[in-house]
């Protein structure tokens, strides 16, 4: 089944086409990575799909609902962890999670159940009562992902989730993302080739707003004859007009 289906999805700013007629299908339970150099259109794509930004042309169905005409329905089934750390700094981790539960309309019993479940899954027990603003970058990212997951979304957007993290924090986040695979459809943007290769079911490479190729890491390596995925990426991007 399709989780996301875009049809000629386009975002045009004054003199810049940030996303150019994107046609893409992402299947349910899939972990799909969007790769590209700066300004490729990855974040703009995620912003349109998560109802943060209106497309200039085209449409997308997210969980079967249009991002143009049924935005509230889309918002009810998605979770988003933005590129910047988006936590309420003076609230404890537990209060941040409760905030998201309340905003998504979860009952009191369901809230406790979800918080306990996520605290266990993301190993947050020791920091539940700490102020979110006082945590390290790695822990704030973990909290940010927990906030995105609290409503039990069927589609999760992770925009550069490991940006600026040290190697241990990154590896721990990879484990968390892996543990979600299959249950949640995940759309991930990243600059890190090894991250996309290690985590993704399929990868889409973008440049100047256009989707150049879609395939598994192995397929893209075979297509370019490269021995390493990073080389395949470089070849695809360099060869594109």
């Amino acid at each position: 089944m399709e989780a996301i289906h875009t049809t000629n999805l386009t975002k045009q700013y004054k003199h810049l086409t940030a996303v150019d007629r994107l046609n893409l299908t992402i299947h349910q339970g899939e972990l799909f990575s969007l790769l590209g150099i700066n300004g490729a259109g990855k974040t703009t794509t995620i912003k349109m799909l998560s109802c943060l930004s209106m497309p200039t042309a085209g449409d997308a169905l997210v969980g079967g609902s249009s991002i143009l005409s049924d935005r509230q329905a889309v918002k009810r089934i998605i979770g988003v962890s933005p590129q910047e750390t988006a936590v309420a700094p003076n609230l404890s981790v537990k209060e941040n999670l409760e905030l998201m539960c309340g905003i998504h309309g979860l009952s009191r019993e369901k809230r406790q159940e979800r918080i306990t479940e996520l605290a266990s899954q993301l190993k947050l027990h020791d920091i539940l009562n700490k102020k979110a603003g006082k945590l390290s970058g790695g822990w704030q990212r973990r909290v940010s992902i927990a906030m995105a997951l609290i409503s039990d979304p069927s589609i999760l957007f992770l925009d550069e989730p490991t940006l600026g993290l040290d190697v241990i924090a990154r590896s721990e986040l990879w484990d968390i993302i892996r543990s979600l695979k299959g249950r949640v459809t995940i759309i991930l943007t990243t600059h890190y080739m090894e991250e996309a290769e290690a985590l993704s079911d399929r990868i889409g490479i973008m440049k100047n707003g256009r989707l150049l190729v879609v395939g598994t890491a192995r397929e893209l390596m075979e297509q370019t004859g490269a021995a390493k995925f990073e080389d395949a990426f470089i070849t695809i991007v360099k060869e594109a007009k």
Partner: protein, 243 residues
């Protein structure tokens, strides 16, 4: 329900910032005590407690502008708002969620100012309750002004504009510290066109029990509160759509 969750969060963010408590509560109290001490030694009608306390209560509300502006600007900068825009929260939930929790904080701040004033000799009468009710439109104006600034400026700019410029503007043009008629001319005319002096006169009329004098001032304050709230809502929606 969703709005209340968001409002609760906003209240926590404000009340847990020690600087907010220090300035929001501490500053008006210090001013009242200091000026009353001066009044005890060098009596001037301007600083008699029944005249001074309403002015201090209104001046204290300028911190509500700072609180709301800082909260909105910080939420925008930290991308928390970006995250919340992807949830089922609606525009009205954000607006009310920012405004409603600051209203009781404003009333509490004014109540503390009047309580200190009672300790300093202000007669404990029902008029204080009237003054506390009439503080609501003044507080709404101040909070909406903060929402407007927070939707437009970043945290650093908000500190300069709301923390310094607006606080000074509301102090100089309010008639709290000196009689505007003594300056007269253009200064007095400008001050009378703005809401600050009317807010102070509204509170003074309430405290003195002269409610017939209060209505024209209330009309000006309500007008400014309505226009500022509308402006804040429109600007917030604009930046929400631009996001």
């Amino acid at each position: 329900m969703r709005m209340l969750t968001f409002a609760k969060r906003c209240a926590k963010e404000i009340l847990r910032d020690p600087l907010n408590l220090l300035f929001g509560l501490g500053f008006p109290i210090v001013l009242l005590l200091l000026l009353s001490a001066i009044q005890a030694n060098i009596p001037v009608p301007m600083f008699e407690i029944a005249h001074l306390a309403p002015g201090i209560a209104v001046f204290g509300l300028s911190f509500m502008t700072l609180f709301s502006a800082t909260l909105v600007a910080r939420d925008r900068e930290s991308a928390l708002l970006q995250r919340l825009y992807t949830t089922p929260l609606k525009a009205v939930d954000y607006i009310l969620g920012y405004i409603l929790p600051i209203l009781p904080i404003a009333v509490a701040q004014s109540a503390v100012s009047y309580l200190i004033a009672v300790a300093l000799g202000l007669p404990l009468r029902l008029n204080i309750l009237h003054a506390l009710v009439l503080i609501l439109p003044i507080a709404l104006f101040n909070i909406a002004l903060g929402l407007l600034c927070g939707s437009f400026f970043n945290v650093k700019q908000v500190g300069g504009i709301c923390g310094a410029l607006l606080t000074n503007l509301s102090a100089w043009l309010s008639g709290i510290w000196f009689d505007l008629d003594l300056v007269g001319g253009v200064f007095s005319k400008i001050a009378n066109l703005l809401p600050f002096v009317h807010a102070v006169e509204l509170e003074r009329a309430a405290i003195s029990g002269g409610m017939t004098d209060a209505w024209p001032h209330l009309a000006v304050v309500l007008g400014y509160a309505a226009v500022t709230t509308l402006g804040a809502v429109l600007l917030f929606l604009r930046q929400m759509n631009r996001q």
